[in-house]
Amino acid sequence: MEHKGPDGAAIRREIESLKATKADIESQISSLEARLRDMNLGTEAVSINGSCPLTSAVDVSLRHGLSPDMIHRYSRHLLLPSFGVEAQSNLLKASILVVGAGGLGSPALLYLASCGVGRLGIVDNDVVELNNMHRQIIHTEAYIGQPKVESAAEACRAVNSTIQIVKHKEALRTSNALKIMSQYDIVVDATDNAPSRYMISDCCVLLGKPLVSGAALGLEGQLTVYNYKGGPCYRCLFPTPPPTTACQRCSDSGVLGVVPGIIGCLQALEAIKIASSVGEPLSGRMLLFDALSARIRIVKIRGKSSECAACGETTRFTGEQFQNFDYEKFTQSPMVASPPKLNLLPQDSRISGIEYSKIVKDGEAHILVDVRPEHHFRIVSLPNSLNVPLSALENRVSEISLAMKEIEGQNGKGASLFVICRRGNDSQRAVQYLQKVGFTSAKDIVGGIEGWAGEVDPSFPAY
């Protein structure tokens, strides 16, 4: 390049250094703000007998306890005849915990912060990733790689600096759930997995807290309020956990970004109704949202089950039992986002991505079968691979035989058969089947195309 001046690397270094300074300043501001909040709390706790700070000298003369700033900020709520100062005061005194700052938690947290919930807790142990951005609207690109709790707390603070925001940067487990959840009036379940849902529901039963539960996957969403004034809990409805195959995750099945957005907004609404004692919460009913057909159905669900293992009449479910209960074993699925890594094959039936890349480079005769679903294959695939989805493998074995014969004919000698999938689990299942039906030398590629992107070709798109 002709033009003189700092090169790209120097600019990138400067950006990094400025970002570090910015992060440092932001953390100083946060800690000063926290000190200020604590001071306010300390001086006013006596007079208002509540959990959140109400500032201004006018407080004493206004019986509802709203400061002039609050009256201005929440004026549209106060103007609502069915909401008004009483409901707003209730909100300002309420505390709500949102478990999960992902697709559901993003809009839920933003609305709960902006509407003036006195104390808002956020539990999350993940970091922000690029593939979260299409639905987790509370996070911005600048926070990629940083804890979701920090990002979410900062966004909430940016819309409402007058409420108390509590960050719980840890995964919710049986060991900490009772302690964390006991500090709040209402719990919002915005998690993404079955074991967490059972654990949070059981903990709400133990602590007697209402639970606003939302879920979304693909193009559908569900919403219910559990354990509210004698209503059913999650276990009353689903005493038997779904089999692992039925527990799908957004990272496997996909989700249209706005769908959890809608359910998260509805969760905020239900939490606000309960916190402010307004309206009729969605207890004993389940809302089913179908994005494709633009339909919302509300179904009456069963009442509390007298035989429920958590809240049943004769059940004595204790805190100790809760803490010793293995929710991952119960649901046979993990609480963490990372998918399981299976080990179904002996080592000599598997090769690494690097080994496979050598086979390609050396021009060794082989067939590569990609067993991912067709719509995955269309996103990205390795060159010269043959797509035979695992679900159709049994019926399409002849295609593999044909391809093998063809390549063996061209080379006049035997060819190898390799199988790849997204992460290296389905490929093992496929190899097990292929070996059984006669392809005894079939091998799978460890780690799948995710592994390939990691160890062989970093420019290979991840999805």
């Binding site: 999960g100 992902g102 697709g103 559901l104 938690g105 915005a190 998690t191 993404d192 997995n193 079955a194 849902r197 939302g214 879920a215 979304a216 996957l217 693909g218 559908e220 969403g221 569900q222 409805l237 689903f238 038997t240 956990p241 779904p242 089999p243 195959t245 039925a246 527990c247 799908q248 995750r249 957004c250 099945s253 989700v255 959890p260 359910i263 389940m286 089913l288 179908d290 057909s293 159905r297 509300i298 179904v299 009456k300 669900i301 069963r302």
Partner: protein
């Protein structure tokens, strides 16, 4: 009166208005995983008069064997209300099969 009929007992009849019915037709709605497993969001189902919700579920599983996966983990709703497996279905009823969603 609740009673569960076998499919072969088509001779049994009961009057519904002016018509005499030996079998009834209902609409089944599938949600979430049930949609994936059947590939449908709804389907008509003809069952003998007097059939229970459980009987309908069994009939659906024999029609769509993959539904067995969620057999023990679902909410059954008859005309948008919770239904025990022993509830009797009527002509033109709407039976919803609602497995839980875990994602978020």
């Amino acid at each position: 009166m609740e009673r569960q009929m076998e499919p072969e007992m088509e001779t049994s009849t009961a009057s519904s208005g002016d018509k005499v019915l030996s079998s009834i037709s209902i609409k089944v709605l599938f949600f979430a995983r049930a949609r994936d497993l059947t590939g449908l969001s709804e389907t008509p189902l003809v069952v003998p008069y007097g059939s229970t919700a459980n009987y309908c579920l069994e009939a659906l599983i024999s029609k769509f064997p993959r539904l067995e996966e969620i057999h023990h983990c679902m909410v059954l709703a008859l005309n948008e209300e919770y239904a025990a497996g022993s509830s009797t279905v009527k002509d033109n009823d709407e039976l919803a099969i609602i497995p839980p969603i875990s994602g978020g």
